[in-house]
């Protein structure tokens, strides 16, 4: 008897719980909001999401709970979030990979399947070498690489990763030929560079910055049209006459079809959290540029990025295992 009573109670609890999930009560938001992060705890995406979530809570008046669903360069999280109902109670962190995973063949999902909310950070690529080495300017490195095609080894954070794509773009734009060595993440790639096991590495400003400040690595060039405010002394490739580089970025999105009211509230909360001194300080310390894009400009930007990767990734990776 007691057992069946307990069973009935459990079932009733489960039923009320599911029905509560489907039907919002009162004005949005009336219960907790889930924020799905596409990476493991501890990384940059995770820290940015968790700090913003905590900053948004007072304004929204409900808890913003972060959940990590790592895997397949973020494709698992993107597919999961876009499959859910657009209630406004489930959103996701969307890095540059939302524009890449389709071209990489990991999952059939892209920015066109999402309701994009806002962009908050941008991280430019940097070509780094050992500070003790002979190369002081980008041109020194290019000259050496031209003299010995296919000789110098450049580390990246993984085949098909954003920094690998940038190293391939460098080759294509400058006509040099390098050997690409993928590592599991930028930290491992830079460790190999510090240990003298590779000749150079392409990684983000935030990842190279600490080592450049410590005087162990030298940033030769920022892959962008303009310098990074975080690296005012490092020239942009455009200054040497090259046009290349695609930055990493981070933003937020929800399943397609969010109600306008919920979307406006979320974007406003993100905007205010973004402007807070705490978030600005976080970006400064971790070497990211704090840039805010409203939903519409972000959508245009993300779609353009997806179009770029759709064309560039097959072309660049066509060389096979490089």
């Amino acid at each position: 008897m007691r057992r069946s009573a307990a069973l009935v109670l459990t079932l009733a609890a489960a039923l009320t719980h599911t029905s509560a999930c489907g039907r919002p009560t009162g004005p949005y938001p009336s219960r907790e909001i889930k924020l799905v992060i596409q990476s493991t705890p501890g990384g940059l995406s995770d820290t940015v999401s968790r700090v913003l979530a905590a900053l948004m809570e007072p304004e929204l008046g409900v808890p913003v709970v972060c959940e990590n669903r790592p895997g397949a360069a973020g494709a698992l999280a993107f597919s999961y979030v876009t499959r859910q109902a657009p209630t406004g109670y489930l959103i996701g962190h969307g890095p540059v990979e939302i524009a890449m995973v389709k071209a990489l063949g990991y999952a059939n999902v892209g920015p066109e399947d999402m309701d994009l909310l806002c962009l908050v950070t941008k991280t430019k690529p940097v070509l780094a070498v050992r500070a003790a080495g002979p190369w002081r300017r980008l041109e020194d490195f290019l000259q050496a690489a031209r003299a010995r095609p296919g000789y110098y080894i450049v580390a990246n954070s993984g085949t098909g990763s954003i920094w690998h794509i940038n190293a391939l773009l460098l080759e294509r734009e400058t006509g040099i030929r390098l050997v690409h060595c993928p590592f599991s993440g930028s930290s491992a790639a830079l460790t190999a560079l510090l240990g003298g096991h590779v000749d150079a590495a392409v990684a983000g400003t935030g990842e190279v910055g600490p080592h450049a400040k410590a005087g162990t690595l030298r940033a030769l060039a920022v892959f962008d049209e303009s310098r990074s405010p975080l690296f005012p002394d490092t020239p942009a490739v455009a200054e040497a006459g090259y046009r290349l580089g695609v930055s990493a970025w981070g933003g937020f999105y929800g399943p397609k079809g969010l109600a306008p009211e919920a979307r406006a509230k979320l974007v406003a909360a993100f905007r205010n959290a973004f402007a807070s001194p705490r978030f600005q300080a976080l970006c400064q310390e971790r070497g990211m540029e704090a840039i805010f894009l409203e939903p519409e400009p972000f959508r245009e930007f993300a779609l353009a990025q997806a179009a770029f990767f759709r064309k560039a990734i097959p072309e660049l990776l066509a060389g096979g295992a490089r």
Partner: protein, 501 residues
């Protein structure tokens, strides 16, 4: 490094608010470590953004508390229910659980706490005295060295087979084969994923570990169990080891501490590999190698001290070079950066007091978790008096929840169940699972780094052998394979005359 910096570091830690955060962190770490599926890395990572709202000293104290509290606590489920609480306590299951099944759970928990403390204390001492030499050793590890380290680890497969060498090696090969699932580490081409995006990153290791050790053991025990009332609950054993046991454990404990510190200092190698290597080395030098895996106090002392000494090693690399020595310290770098502290060579010059406050925080956390572990050993050992069916049900629930919690992925739960069935089959067929787990851990490390090393040497295999550390590690691997053969040969030639007589 001056006396005033040491004093300032100590004073910063002894403030009551910092102590409170340290205590909270250590308690929280113990919970994260003791629950399978929740790892030390996850504990540090989830709490890191929260430290944004407190002072640098408070935040660091809490995160260090979590790290230092989680690893010793990971040994608790390893001893009690055969599930490593964190990957670092895999080797602790081999002797710890065997001791618990013989009714000596209290003693096993006591040894786990004492030698975890020894490992942490010794590695912190190394950090304080020889940070830069240890760290430069870690930096010498390039792809070729990682490959050689993995080969050395794989050469231990025979040793962790518990005498069943051929089945053990087969299980090891199976582990290596399963480790190939997922994106190819070099070309990012999907292998054995059957079109599933969930498998692109390979079979998740922690759920596989929970299944092989925990669920597999539970299923095996269920099948062994005869009808009627179960066995009488084992009497509570003492917690403190006796003098003769302590004397026997001194050498393996120190060996484990040194091994753990060095392996921990190598980036991308942590307590899991360290404790397996230490356990096997301790078995080699032991006078009672036959006890290893059957409840040897020496084996438990070696693995517990190595798993924990890896903390100090990893912190050494992290603080001196600004590169992570293992997964939790990778997260700690992010936490330090949030507070405007830049780990690296300049940290010791510009922020000496902060370095000492980190060292003292680690020491205090080690003492706290020692006290907690010893105080908790008796009540925890009593948990084994729960009737077996209830205990098993609890283990299965913990396994499911833990596997899901890791990545919030249902596929991981299926991996856990699959690994559990595999674990059951292995136990019924008397195939050791230790080598299988070793294959799962070391397979990706061996493959990716061999291929990286060949990219760096431009396809020249002989260039790998031009590196002294590679030669040393490969020689150690050959020696560890030859050792049992030589011992068996010695035993045969020595015993033959008497056998004939």
């Amino acid at each position: 490094m001056t006396g005033s910096e040491i004093a300032a570091g100590l004073a910063a830690v002894l403030a009551w608010d910092v102590l409170l955060f340290l205590l909270a962190g250590t308690l929280l770490g113990a919970v994260f470590g003791a629950l399978p599926g929740l790892t030390a890395t996850m504990g540090v990572a989830i709490l890191t953004p929260l430290t944004f709202w407190v002072s640098t000293e408070q935040g660091l104290a809490m995160l260090i508390g979590i790290y230092c509290g989680a690893i010793p606590a990971g040994g608790i489920p390893a001893v009690l229910i055969n599930i490593p609480g964190t990957p670092a306590s895999i080797a602790a299951t081999w002797d710890g659980y065997a001791l618990a099944r013989r009714g000596r759970a209290g003693l096993a928990l006591g040894i786990n706490s004492l030698f975890a403390f020894l490992g942490q204390f010794a590695s912190i001492l190394f950090l304080a005295l020889a940070a830069f030499p240890i760290a430069s050793f870690g930096l010498r590890f390039g792809p070729a060295e990682y490959f050689a380290l993995a080969v050395f680890g794989i050469s231990l497969m025979a040793g962790v087979s518990g005498g069943r060498i051929i089945p053990g090696l087969l299980a090891g090969m199976l582990g290596l084969a399963l480790a190939t699932v997922g994106l190819d580490p070099m070309t990012a081409y999907p292998r054995f994923t059957f079109g599933s995006a969930e498998l692109l990153d390979g079979l998740a290791f922690v759920p596989a570990m929970i299944g092989l050790f925990g669920l597999g053991e539970v299923l095996a025990r269920m099948m062994e169990r005869t009808a009627g009332p179960g066995l009488a609950p084992p009497p509570l054993s003492r917690i403190w080891p006796g003098w003769s046991e302590l004397r026997r454990m001194a050498a393996p404990g120190l060996l484990g501490s040194a091994t753990g510190t060095l392996v921990g200092a190598i980036p991308a190698a942590g307590g899991d590999i360290a404790s397996v290597i230490a356990w096997e080395q301790a078995r080699r030098v032991s006078r009672r190698p036959e006890e290893f895996g059957e409840g040897s106090v020496e084996g438990l002392a070696a693995s517990a001290s190595a798993a924990n000494a890896a903390i100090g090693g990893a912190m050494t690399t992290m603080l001196t070079l600004g590169i992570p020595g293992d997964a939790p310290s990778a997260v700690l770098i992010g936490a330090l950066l949030i507070h405007g502290v830049q780990p690296g060579p300049l940290l010791f010059r510009d922020h000496g007091a902060l370095v000492y406050s980190i060292i003292f925080s680690m020491l205090l956390a080690a003492l706290l978790i020692l006290a907690l572990g010893l105080a908790g050993a008796r009540p925890l050992a009593r948990a084994l008096r729960i009737p077996e069916p209830w205990l098993w049900a609890g283990v299965i629930v913990l396994g499911v929840v833990g596997s899901y919690a890791l990545n919030n992925s249902l596929v991981d739960v299926w991996v856990m169940f699959g690994a559990g069935l595999l674990g059951l089959v292995c136990r019924r067929a008397r195939v050791p699972v230790g080598p299988l787990v070793l294959g799962l851990i070391l397979g990706p490390m061996m493959e990716a780094n061999l291929r990286r090393a060949l990219i760096l040497s431009r396809g020249d295999w002989s260039a790998l052998l031009a590196r002294p550390l590679v030669v040393a590690l490969l020689a150690a691997a050959v020696a560890s394979l030859a050792w049992p053969v030589w011992k068996a040969w010695r035993a045969r030639t020595h015993s033959e005359p008497s056998a004939r007589a």
